[in-house]
């Protein structure tokens, strides 16, 4: 019986390395590297021109933000289909605030827009957790409602680059050393989210809730409150993405962010976040977002016409979930073997 302790001894350095190699995220990272290598071999400027490198980092940044938010929500066995619409509303709010209140300092406007996103997320969260209604239905509803409100509010209006301060638009392209500022923001958000989800009690509770909500309730976890906060987080990140969207693209009409929700879910799924909650990481989701958009940009370089991009993305998503399934089966088998040998 004393053998139990030793046979399940902690992994050494080698063990950790092999665990890293087996991690789901590593696979996506390698796929990303592969895409980069192949594409750059074909056209060196894909990576090695100043703009190529910048766009590699810059293009996926907004998607990374909402993919991280989406991952947090999906981990709790929910889904937030309204993020695209939240981006639309917060982007427009950003523009409107600048256009009609030229005196407002830039950080205040940004903060207000992010808070607005958080508020929209809060609405989702309250409906889901207080009314105890499935999130797919609720956020499908708010996807429509938020976008509809946006269209009504915007009308045929439109925010142009000239309506906004140059300093704000500069955020869209500014760099800190070699890193675009927007990318830096995305990375900081990602690191914080990853730390919280991995190493804080409340972060782990999100996994527990997603793994089995009924058990979590019996266990005494504050399921409603945690789920609520997950939606607020998703809304906040979508709000931030909306602000950065405005800074980067300079023009906002009523369709900003349209259809991004499925891309965000797709990115999370490609990144190994299980659609039924309980497993996956925000890092994986972020990598999924980068891979998705990098492939999008790589295809034309590789000579595949624009039109086939959707098909490639589809294959990628399906391949990713099949891979997850295979990995899960393998892990189950390995564990049985381990326990047998320990016994």
């Amino acid at each position: 019986m004393s053998a139990a302790t030793t046979s399940f001894a902690r992994r050494g350095v080698l063990g950790r390395l092999s665990a890293l190699a087996a991690a789901r995220e590593t696979g996506i990272f390698l796929a990303l590297v592969l895409v980069l290598v192949v594409t750059t071999a074909k056209s060196p400027s894909f990576l090695f021109s100043a703009d190529g490198f910048r766009d590699l980092l810059l293009t996926p940044s907004t998607l990374v933000l909402i993919a991280v938010g989406q991952a947090i929500v999906i981990i709790t066995r929910n889904v937030d289909l309204s993020v695209g619409s939240i981006i639309g509303l917060t982007a427009y709010l950003t523009g409107v605030l600048f256009k009609y209140n030229p005196g407002l300092p830039i950080p205040v406007v940004m903060l207000l827009a992010v808070l607005f996103g958080a508020g929209l997320g809060l609405v989702n969260g309250v409906l889901v957790s207080v009314a105890k209604v499935p999130s797919l239905v609720i956020t499908l509803g708010t996807l429509y409602a938020y976008r509809g409100i946006n269209v009504v509010w915007t009308g045929s209006n439109r925010i142009n680059a000239s309506d906004m301060p140059r300093d704000f638009l500069a955020i869209g392209t500014a760099k800190l050393w070699v890193l675009p500022v927007i990318t830096l923001i995305a990375v900081v958000v990602l690191v914080i989210a990853a730390l919280v989800l991995r190493s804080s009690r409340s972060g782990r509770e999100l996994y527990a809730i997603g793994s089995d909500p009924d058990a979590a309730h019996l266990y005494g976890l504050k399921v409603g409150r945690r789920v609520l906060w997950a939606f607020v987080a998703s809304g906040t990140l979508a709000g931030l993405a909306g602000v950065l969207y405005t800074a980067r693209y300079g023009t906002v009409d009523s369709q900003a962010g349209y259809g991004l929700e499925l891309q965000a879910v797709g990115a999370a799924v490609i990144g190994g976040v299980a659609i039924f909650g309980g497993s996956g990481s925000v890092g994986g989701a972020a990598l999924g977002a980068v891979l998705l958009l990098t492939i999008n940009r790589a295809l034309p370089v590789l000579g595949i016409p624009d039109f086939w991009q959707g098909a490639v993305v589809g294959v990628l998503i399906i391949a990713a979930i099949i891979l997850d399934r295979l990995l899960a089966l393998r892990q189950a088998r390995k564990l049985t073997v381990m326990e047998d040998s320990a016994a």
Partner: protein, 316 residues
């Protein structure tokens, strides 16, 4: 029990004219529809504008249906698809509603009149002329278009290809990409173009959304001034980039005039002055006299080239 509607007139003419742009929130259509409104005010009609939020091919159909039911005098629309709205338009015309297309046409047999902003040849030629002049008549160029299915875009691109082959053997059109008249997509597609084609010397974007997005990308990138950009744009959107040197020259007709002309054409149809057959002529307010050409088409005029020197004169 429908309540009686004003103007669905027995005695007086039914001057209820509704503009149906490809989508709302598009600066180009804001300008053209404003031109239409101005014309309609002049002849004391009722102006309205409805439209979908997103420019999808089927989205205009239910609007046409509704306008048919409401018995408006005329619909003035820019079609999202050459064929998709035709059946609805036919129903509208059967119900006595006149249908004028502008900017982007449907099949000639389904509408009454098409107000052509410029001939396709003229538009293709002015853009080819501008870009070949700017890049010194040799090297690689690419096209950033709107939706892959946009009728007018594709017609122009075909003509440009022919013109290039015939008259500019050293200029090679290496790629056509589609920004879907979406700002973000166009922006990203520009970035993609520059990477896929390191030797690219020029981009032509025959769409106002595309050229503005491309100009914005170029203006903050290292390609500014290196890669030439021209196409069809509006002065308001392009002013900044012409001033900072990203773009030297671009072309467009005056969309306000286009809407203005379309509204008068609709009035002429309602009045019964014209029926849309070749040779009909009508008076379009300040713009003067216009003649209906082949296939029920009315031509606005030649495209206008904007540059640093004249852009200050335009406010749309």
């Amino acid at each position: 029990a429908s309540t009686g509607d004003s103007g669905s007139g027995d005695g007086s003419k039914n001057y209820q004219i509704t503009f149906l742009p490809k989508n709302l929130g598009n600066a180009y259509f804001d300008t053209s529809d404003a031109g239409g409104e101005k014309a309609i005010k002049e002849f004391k009609g009722t102006y309205a504008e409805v439209g979908p939020a997103k420019a999808s091919p089927d989205a205009q159909v239910s609007y046409i249906n509704t306008l048919t039911q409401k018995q408006v005098g005329a619909i003035v629309m820019s079609a999202n698809d050459q064929k998709a709205p035709c059946d609805a338009i036919k129903q509208a015309r059967d119900a006595g509603v006149k249908v004028v297309t502008f900017d982007s046409d449907t099949s000639a047999d389904c509408r009454d009149l098409f107000i052509n902003q410029a001939t396709a040849e003229g538009i293709a030629k002015v853009q080819v002329d501008l870009i070949t002049k700017e890049i010194g008549d040799s090297g690689e160029i690419a096209v950033l278009s709107a939706a892959a299915n946009a009728t007018n875009q594709n017609a122009w691109i075909d003509l440009m290809k022919k013109d290039l082959e015939a008259n500019h053997p050293n200029v090679k059109l290496v790629d056509v990409v589609y920004g879907d008249d979406d700002d973000q997509t166009s922006f990203d597609k520009t970035a993609g173009l520059l990477q896929s084609h390191p030797n690219l010397k020029g981009i032509v974007s025959p769409t106002t959304v595309g050229i503005a997005a491309a100009a914005r990308y170029l203006s903050t990138s290292s390609f500014k001034g290196q890669v030439k950009l021209t196409g069809l744009g509006t002065p308001n959107q392009m002013r900044e980039y012409v001033t900072d040197g990203t773009v030297e020259e671009f072309a467009l007709w005056n969309p306000g005039d286009l809407g203005y002309l379309a509204a008068y054409a609709a009035k002429a149809l309602i009045d019964g002055d014209i029926t849309g057959k070749e040779g009909d002529s009508f008076k379009a307010g300040d713009l003067g006299e216009y003649k209906v050409g082949k296939d029920g088409t009315v031509l606005l005029g030649d495209p206008f080239v904007f540059n640093k020197d004249n852009i200050g004169d335009f406010k749309f």
